[in-house]
């Protein structure tokens, strides 16, 4: 069976250091997938192979194959610009541009050449509503996004990604810098959009993974230890390392 995202034998090196040691992992279309594991286990690195953000880091080499919707992400013909429009990313630290909220959300559309004011307005409202931040910012759309709280900034960043209507949304520990209330809002929001997007979220927070994800993959020291339905990973892990990690014996 062909999955929506398929990665085969992905090795990645930072200079000499092997950060990913042959990852075979796939994700079906739509739903929430969690990547868990202790710090430095390679889960963020793996996430960044999916939209080729590792290309930006000097000295990185990668082997193996990554296919999204049947297309080879690392083919020389792949246009990273087009790829990243289809595979959006939300970072750990809220990183809105120092522009107005409106300009932040429309950034992806504008660089894609969309100028129609009405369409932009519609997308802004739609995306901010999806990101559960519309009610808080609808009257201050033209104020600087930096004047918002951290949690609001992160939801504006999510709206910025949603506005370009990607197929896949990658989230790299999106709530680890936020308070529990903001984290809860983002979790609810992800649950609300899970049927329309393929969501992959890296998280340190095991409860978060068990609350919101459909499937979970456990990484350790650059290797994929175990992956499967979230319920199964948390209730009946097959490997001892997984059991040790989720029951808090290390990590």
């Amino acid at each position: 069976m062909n999955e929506f995202i398929e990665t085969k034998d992905v090795h990645l090196y930072y200079g000499e250091k092997e950060a990913l040691k042959g990852i075979n992992l796939s994700f079906p279309a739509r739903g929430i997938n969690a990547l868990i594991g202790p710090s430095g286990c390679g889960k963020s690195t793996y996430l960044r192979t999916l939209n080729r953000m590792n290309d930006l880091i000097p000295g990185v080499t990668m082997t193996g194959s990554v296919q999204i919707n049947g297309q080879n992400v690392y083919s020389p013909k792949t246009d990273t610009v087009e790829l990243r429009k289809k595979v959006g990313m939300v970072f750990q630290q809220p990183n809105p541009f120092p522009f107005s909220i409106y300009e932040n959300v429309t950034y992806g559309l504008r660089i894609a050449g969309i100028k129609d004011k009405q369409l932009l307005d519609e997308r802004v409202e739609e995306s901010l509503k999806q990101a559960a931040v519309w009610d808080e910012v609808k009257d201050t759309l033209h104020k600087s996004a930096l004047s918002l709280s951290g949690g609001q900034q992160q939801r504006v960043c999510i709206a910025r990604v949603l506005a370009v209507k990607p197929d896949v949304i990658l989230l790299d520990e999106p709530t680890s810098a936020l308070d529990p209330v903001s984290s809860g809002l983002i979790e609810d929001m992800l649950l609300a959009i899970r049927d329309n997007y393929t969501i992959i979220i890296v998280t340190h927070n095991l409860q978060q993974a068990s609350r919101i994800s459909d499937r979970t993959a456990f990484f350790l020291n650059g290797e994929l230890i175990e992956s499967g339905q979230t319920k199964q990973i948390f209730m009946q892990p097959q490997k001892k390392a997984t059991d040790d990690y989720i029951s808090g014996r290390f990590g």
Binding site: M53, V81, R84, K85, N95, F97, Y107, I111, R160
Partner: protein
């Protein structure tokens, strides 16, 4: 007295050292403040004498087009119109900034966004080298290359505002470049990442995010460059022609506040009208550098409010 009480109640060596350090730094600060204030006081008191003692009208001084401090008319007043020099100074300054800004921003973008680490280091030392060249060398090159070039291609003597601006362009280029590099480096890396992750090209990221986030820093760099151009004396004096008349165009011989000052200050007697008039020019220079400083402050404050 018991030893612990003794230790706590007596000043320790470290506390005394702290005090000495504070005294030394405060004395240095006081010295600098005193020097700056005395410069202001000295130049101002001399510069104002033209208006208080020699009774030259301030407005006539700023708007008059004839500069003949040595010649007095029937009523005993010298012709002191500083407008030609003011126009000359602003002319070369703005032109130099206009020429230098695109090159400086381009170079800075190449250094921060495109060049490899090795190229960046190389360019950095080239820029630093440009700063270190004495202005007389720039003036000499201007005199032997730029002036003949302009004479050959545009006619006239070759001396004039354009020649001055070209020499100043090279001189302010490193100032504007290195300050622009600093402001581009100060743009957080995650803005760039966020933009690229949204499917922006490198050029879109530079144009729409990095340059925009660095705008106030780049403006500050330009103003600093202008302040340097405005105050430069020697190199400009060598190529501008030193003719204290209203410039008729970019190619006619002209003069700046600084060039008139350096040419004239040794040839006048303290306390005479012609000497006082030069001090008034110096006062204008000083006030202008104050204005440049204030503009830089305002831009900096605006930049901080945005972010």
């Amino acid at each position: 007295m018991d030893p612990i009480k003794n230790k706590i109640q007596n000043t320790s060596k470290e506390t005394r050292q702290d005090l000495y350090g504070r005294i030394i730094s405060y004395s240095c600060i006081i010295l600098i403040v005193v020097v700056v204030l005395s410069i202001f006081f000295f130049v101002a008191s001399k510069g104002i004498a033209t208006f208080t003692i020699n009774h030259v009208n301030l407005w006539n001084f700023l708007s008059g087009k004839n500069w003949n401090p040595a010649v007095t008319d029937d009523s005993g007043h010298a012709e002191l119109g500083a407008l030609p020099m003011i126009v000359g100074s602003f002319g070369v300054t703005f032109l130099a900034a206009l020429f230098a800004t695109p090159f400086a921003v381009g170079t800075a973008l190449y250094m921060t966004e495109i060049a490899s680490h090795r190229d960046e280091k190389f360019l950095q030392s080239v820029v630093e080298l440009l700063v270190g060249i004495p202005s007389v060398v720039y003036g000499f090159i201007g005199l032997s290359v730029v002036v003949p070039f302009i004479r050959h291609h545009f006619g006239g003597s070759g001396y004039g505002i354009l020649s001055g601006a070209i020499v100043l362009f090279v001189m302010v280029l490193p100032t504007i470049t290195s300050m622009t590099v600093d402001s581009l480096r100060a743009v957080p890396r995650f803005y760039k990442e966020a933009s690229l992750a949204l499917g922006a090209t490198k050029w879109q990221t530079i144009y729409k995010v990095i340059l925009r986030a660095a705008t106030s820093g780049i403006l500050t760099a330009i103003i600093f460059g202008m302040a340097r151009a405005f105050g430069e004396a020697l190199a400009v004096q060598m190529v501008i022609g030193n003719n204290a008349v209203m410039p008729k165009g970019l190619f006619s011989s002209a003069s700046t506040l600084t060039s008139v000052l350096t040419m004239g200050i040794g040839n006048t007697v303290m306390g005479t009208v012609s000497n006082n008039a030069l001090w008034s020019l110096a006062l204008i220079l000083l006030l202008m550098s104050l204005v440049f400083n204030i503009i830089v402050r305002l831009i900096g404050r605006k930049g901080r409010m945005q972010s």
